[in-house]
């Protein structure tokens, strides 16, 4: 019986062998650059520049990691990135969901005009407001502080738009019942709308996390001192003009992507479902 099942399964595999070959080739395309980074990060300088193309380093020495950790304050970079990212995520989720609730459920003067303005700014690329933002933060004395990165990251029209569309799909009857029980606006927002919006909030969280964790241009413009740098900014500056030691750069790159890759691998379902939702709603 068991062998029969096995042969049927094997037959399925052989019938689809073209697809499996393609799958393996594609996996190689996506994975080899990562593997090469890992392998290079364990190689010695002379091993990198001799033409022995071992996919596996001859010895696993951690010298590159040690040197990179001595040269760059990775602990500080990591802490800065976590701090900025968490505050941007909390700020975005709170302020966008509140504004989205007002747009989806409350009637007030000028609502449609205001919402149209929000929609219009969806089309404005962030780089357009980079220079005015730089000037504003300079005037506020917030340049080279994390506040510049945090404040410029929180208020996206996209978050408000995404959540408003989602809130509109929640049946009004649920709230009408709550009105009779004496729930005010805030109570309905917190106890009815928010608990029913996990999917949309997760989507916004994932999108915000990926954007702010990997932010480069704004960090490059706003942050100057080494102690304020984020992981992405920190490693970008390793690409000097001369004599780049690729084994050390690869070690640093690996350290910089490890946290977000670990988060992704442990919460993969949420990443995939979150990104998928952005496309379904359109």
């Amino acid at each position: 019986m068991k062998t029969q099942v096995a042969t049927i399964q094997w037959r399925k595999v052989t019938k689809n062998w073209v697809w499996y070959v393609l799958l393996v080739l594609l996996a190689a395309f996506f994975f080899i650059p990562f593997w090469w980074m890992i392998a290079t990060s364990f190689k010695t300088y002379s091993e990198v520049y001799t033409k022995q193309y071992s996919l596996i380093p001859t010895s696993f020495n951690f010298d590159n990691y040690r040197e990179v950790f001595n040269a760059l304050p990775f602990g500080v970079y990591l802490w800065n990135t976590i701090k900025v990212s968490s505050l941007v995520i909390i700020g975005t989720l709170t302020t966008s969901s509140m504004a989205a609730y007002a747009f989806a459920r409350l009637r007030f003067k000028g609502r449609d005009v205001l919402f149209f303005l929000y929609l219009a700014t969806l089309m404005i690329p962030r780089q357009v407001v980079l220079i005015p933002n730089f000037i504003i933060f300079r005037e506020l004395g917030l340049l080279d502080t994390h506040w510049s990165l945090i404040l410029s990251g929180i208020f996206t029209a996209y978050g408000t738009f995404l959540l408003r569309q989602f809130f509109l799909s929640i049946p009004k009857e649920l709230e009408e019942a709550a009105v009779i029980d004496g729930y005010g606006y805030w109570a309905r927002f917190v106890h009815i709308i928010i608990p029913l919006s996990n999917a949309a909030l997760t989507t916004l969280l994932i999108i915000t996390l990926l954007a702010i964790w990997n932010e480069y241009l704004y960090a490059l413009v706003f942050l100057q001192s080494d102690v304020n740098r984020t992981l992405t900014l920190g490693i970008a500056l390793l690409r000097g003009d001369f004599d780049v030691k690729w084994n050390q750069v690869m070690a640093a790159t690996l350290i910089s992507i490890a946290p977000i890759v670990l988060v992704y691998l442990s919460a993969q379902r949420y990443f995939v479902e979150g990104i998928a939702l952005t496309g379904v709603k359109g």
Binding site: W36, A177, I180, V221, L238, V249, V280, G282
Partner: protein, 311 residues
């Protein structure tokens, strides 16, 4: 909520209406309070800066000196600035070559990984992995692979096949194709996930009906999959195109805009003018061009969408 199903039905319409009326009084205030935090930030960091950007584009302003009004001089300069036209051309060729490739390949990838194949979840994870990494990290990972000697992995493999060294990042001809390759590697998995969601939204019955009618797989692909997935394709096209016009991170690490500005882009040129040459006015004029370009693309896309997007 479930505890009071009867109390709701017992309420008369009249009472409900009078409750709504009393509510209405506080509704404007509530809306104001709900909107306040977001609107303050929206005005200060988005709305006002957009208008300011327009205003600054008429100034000569080096940040250290006081700004002076110079009318359309910045815009006139654009017409004779070769680097601007090159950056615009590079941005457009990056976008118009990469985006169609991206859409085709990520759709094919999604179709492949939507089949009942062993280990498809594992392959999906690997394909999506570059999408969670920063463009900066991706560029650093690819730089040694693309090195223009046999030290670079790709050139080493090519040399085994008897192909001469290709100067991927240092020749004006090869630099842009290399950036496109790396851009595709980073993005394919992301758009694969979006297409997978689209594919899974197509009702099975369509495919069953087609197979009863004896349609072959090519007919199914062109007459069922492609039309029914067109709203997703439209979304992917818009997102990918707008994102591509904003390319900065990848080129700034991979090629630094070089060689000889062969991979300089609009955003990079905005950055250079604003924060390396300290020409705030000119940089603002450039960012308005970026905005107008993206705006026109969005309009054109929306205009033609009803010709091919099946809703």
């Amino acid at each position: 909520m479930e505890a009071h199903p009867t109390s709701y039905s017992m309420i008369t319409h009249q009472r409900l209406r009078s409750m709504k009326l009393t509510m209405k009084h506080g509704e404007g205030l509530a809306a104001f309070l709900f909107l306040l935090p977001n609107i303050l930030g929206f005005l200060l960091f988005s709305m006002i800066p957009t208008l300011a950007s327009f205003g600054i584009s008429f100034l000569d302003w080096g940040l250290l000196n006081s700004p002076s009004f110079i009318g359309f001089t910045n815009y006139r300069e654009l017409f004779t600035d070769d680097v601007f036209w090159l950056a615009l051309k590079n941005t457009a060729s990056y976008s118009f070559i990469k985006v169609p490739l991206n859409l085709m390949l990520s759709l094919l990838l999604a179709i492949l990984l939507n089949k009942q194949l062993h280990g498809r979840n594992f392959f999906r994870s690997i394909a999506f992995l570059p999408s969670v990494c920063s463009s900066v990290a991706v560029a650093l990972i690819w730089t040694p692979l693309l090195e223009s000697s046999e030290n670079g992995l790709i050139n080493h493999v090519l040399s085994l096949l008897g192909i001469n060294v290709i100067p991927f990042l240092v020749s004006p001809f090869w630099a842009m194709p290399s950036v496109i390759l790396v851009g595709l590697w980073k993005e394919l998995g992301y758009f694969m996930v979006i297409f997978l969601a689209g594919l899974q939204g197509i009702p099975r019955s369509y495919y069953e009906a087609a197979s009863i009618d004896g349609a072959n797989s090519r007919d199914v692909f062109f007459h069922i999959t492609i039309p029914l997935i067109s709203p997703t394709t439209f979304f992917a096209l818009t997102t990918s195109l707008i994102g591509s016009f904003q390319i900065f991170d990848l080129t700034s690490v991979l090629t630094k805009g070089g060689p000889a500005n062969a991979t300089n882009t609009l955003v990079m040129y905005i950055y250079q003018n604003g924060f390396q040459f300290f020409r705030m006015g000119y940089a603002s004029a450039l960012s308005l061009i970026l905005f107008i370009t993206i705006f026109i693309i969005t309009l054109v896309q929306n205009h033609y969408s009803d010709k091919w997007v099946f809703n």
